[in-house]
């Protein structure tokens, strides 16, 4: 390792000094069978060999071999062991950031069981430690770090948006007591948002507020920390991911909320539910669940009444990778749709096998790879077209954004909705509902 810069040495530490056996297990397992190629949309959409997932594994594993194995040190050509030089770093940026949505399809279908997505994240972490996160992605992370939300929405704008949404809610449910509670302690539910909601899709906030109203839930939003996203999960900068996760953890703890309910955001829910406890090395004392699970729970327990006849158009479902393949939430959204729509049709493939929309892995914020993103989006467009559905439901705001772009580009003519919007449309309200005081415990 002589002659390597301090930055490169730091990056190599992530690869050569593993904390546990997970990394060496996966980095040593690929047999170069190439059978993962057809599981990756980048390869399927472009037929470009560079996008075979195994090449991502290989990139990391050949660097690992160069610095960590006898063969790589003394017979580098035998295993094509690679130096961590500038050309390698450029290739890493292109493969790990530029051509992977971290969708996990290849991992699920690998003939051996190599966790390819995990290795891509290790590669991204190495790049982050050397300062090679694409500037576009880094600026989204910076916005969250500096302002508390990734869209840098000023608090006044946020609260005024919520104020008019509250007025709308009161009008809609015809109850002057209906509210969108803010910063209330000792509630049952601290609800989070994807900042795209207050900025572009306020109707999804209204939908959830109406559902909470109907369920007589004790809930609150926080104006200090409501952002469910954690783009540092995508950039794989651990320090920054910790800072962002810590804010939501602290806010939930400070408000003494029993449950932190994660808005419809695939990566955000993954980052907080599954990664944040490990980022912070803490067992959370509160429950962390997705709004998808909460909606299913409300219907199952009869806390809200729904009438599926209110949603009569043909509806299909796009499964967000981080929620489904990497988060195990598979049945809940189907349960909800089966109770709130008359005609629900599945895409092929769906569930654990579903195709990524193309917007995951931070791709939506990395405009430099926008053409590739839309190219792979064509596969999703075809999937949607084949269902004949009029509405595509997806419990993820990043997916919503990508699906809107796919809808426009490929002229699908479908509506894109979140799950909460579908449930809100199907709600049957008791008139008038009695709203609990915000501090009332459920």
């Amino acid at each position: 390792m002589n002659g390597l810069s301090a930055q490169k040495l730091k990056a190599l530490q992530l690869l050569t000094q593993p904390k546990d056996s997970q990394l060496i297990s996966h980095v040593n397992s690929c047999v170069h069978c190439g059978l993962c190629a057809e599981s990756c949309m980048y390869y399927v959409a472009t037929n470009d060999e560079r996008f075979v997932p195994a090449l991502k594994v290989d990139l990391l594993s050949t660097i690992y071999q160069r610095y960590s194995t006898v063969t790589g040190k003394f017979l580098p050509r035998l295993v094509k062991a690679r130096e961590l030089d500038d050309a390698t770093i450029q290739e890493m940026v292109d493969l790990f950031f530029g051509s992977c949505t971290l969708c996990g399809r290849c991992t699920l279908h690998c003939s051996i069981g190599v966790d390819i997505t995990y290795l891509v994240r290790v590669g991204r972490a190495m790049l982050a430690s050397m300062g090679f996160v694409p500037a576009t992605l880094q600026s989204t992370v910076n916005a969250a770090l500096q302002t508390g939300n990734n869209m840098a929405i000023p608090t006044e704008d946020f609260t005024s948006t919520l104020s008019w949404l509250e007025d709308e809610l009161r009008n809609e449910v015809q109850d002057p007591q209906a509210s969108i509670p803010l910063n209330q302690p000792d509630v049952n539910v601290l609800y989070t948002l994807n900042p795209r909601e207050p900025r572009f899709f306020p109707l999804s906030i209204s939908a959830m507020a109406k559902i909470f109203y109907a369920a007589k839930e004790s809930w609150t939003l926080s104006t200090f920390m409501y952002d469910v996203t954690n783009y540092a999960y995508f950039s794989c900068n651990l320090e920054e991911a910790v800072k962002i996760a810590e804010r939501l953890f602290n806010e939930t703890t400070n408000l003494r909320a029993k449950r932190c309910v994660l808005a419809e955001c695939g990566h955000g829910s993954r980052a907080f539910r599954w990664e944040a406890p490990n980022y912070l090395q803490k067992l959370f004392s509160f429950d962390t669940l997705t709004s998808v699970e909460l909606l299913a729970e409300y219907i199952r327990e009869g806390r809200i009444k729904v009438d599926k006849d209110k949603n009569q158009e043909t509806v299909t479902l796009h499964d967000p990778c981080n929620l489904v393949r990497e988060g195990g939430i598979v049945d809940e959204q189907r349960y909800v749709l089966n109770h709130t729509t008359t005609t629900f049709v599945e895409m092929t493939p769906h569930g654990l096998d579903n195709l990524c929309c193309g917007g995951g892995g931070g791709q939506l914020s990395m405009s430099e790879y926008g053409d590739r993103r839309m190219k792979i989006g064509e596969l999703k467009a075809e999937q949607i077209r084949k269902t004949g559905a009029a509405t595509v439901v997806t419990p993820c705001h990043n997916c919503v954004d990508q699906l809107i772009q796919i809808n426009n580009r490929f002229k699908l003519g479908v509506n894109i909705k979140t799950l909460a919007e579908i449930v809100a449309d199907a709600l049957v309200l008791d008139q008038p509902a009695v709203t609990p005081s915000p501090t009332q415990k459920a």
Binding site: K19, S21, V31, H32, T62, K80, G113, Q281, L352
Partner: protein
């Protein structure tokens, strides 16, 4: 014991020590400590990882590539049988005639599967891009080992060549991809742990 028995025993010992050192490292590093709240059953997911999830119906790498998958499966069966026979043949224990001819048939098919996989690796562009010399050497050594086993079952005088081939394979084993014989189990354990912790595996019907 002849010179080639000593050679093979030495090669086996070196291979074993090297693989044991990898195993000890894996065990010492241990499993990751997950602080998130477990949602599923890790034990049954790990079992599923080794059994149900390996079924060809579950993996695109199998059901989209059935001929390659079948060849790979036969090739691996041939390898396991050849390794088992190595211990018998080392102590000059010959299987019964009826078993012998069955094994010879199996090794002919598995060896040819190995050749087929090698041909595919050299002719398919994406595989060439992915392959290093190690991939070709590993395939050739294992395929030759299977054919040598086959020949030795027919012609005992072939023993020096057989043990020479086996020794080469054993000496090469820890250097490259053949180590996946060990790491495969570790990778599948981790995958089962990951999917089990989050309640993704064992897979339900969606």
């Amino acid at each position: 014991m002849t010179w080639y028995h000593y050679l093979a025993a030495g090669a086996f010992l070196l291979c074993l020590i090297s693989l044991l050192s990898h195993l000890i490292r894996l065990v010492r590093l241990g499993a990751p400590n997950d602080y998130s709240r477990r949602r599923g059953n890790v034990g049954s997911a790990i079992v599923f990882s080794f059994l149900g999830a390996m079924s060809p119906a579950k993996k695109e790498s199998a059901y989209l590539h059935l001929p390659t998958y079948t060849a790979g499966l036969l090739y691996h069966i041939g390898t396991f049988v050849s390794i088992a026979l190595f211990f018998l043949l080392f102590f000059n224990i010959q299987p019964a005639a009826w078993i012998r001819w069955g094994v010879i048939g199996l090794l002919a098919v598995s060896g040819l599967s190995g050749v087929g996989i090698l041909v595919k690796r050299t002719t398919v562009k994406k595989l060439r891009l992915l392959s290093s010399p190690d991939d070709y050497i590993s395939n050739i050594l294992v395929t030759v080992f299977q054919f040598l086993t086959l020949v030795l079952l027919i012609q005992e005088a072939f023993a020096p060549f057989y043990f020479l081939g086996a020794s080469l394979l054993l000496l090469y084993f820890p250097l490259g991809k053949l180590k996946h014989a060990l790491y495969f189990f570790a990778a599948r354990y981790h995958l089962g742990f990951f999917y089990g912790w989050r309640g993704i595996w064992p897979a339900r019907k969606s």
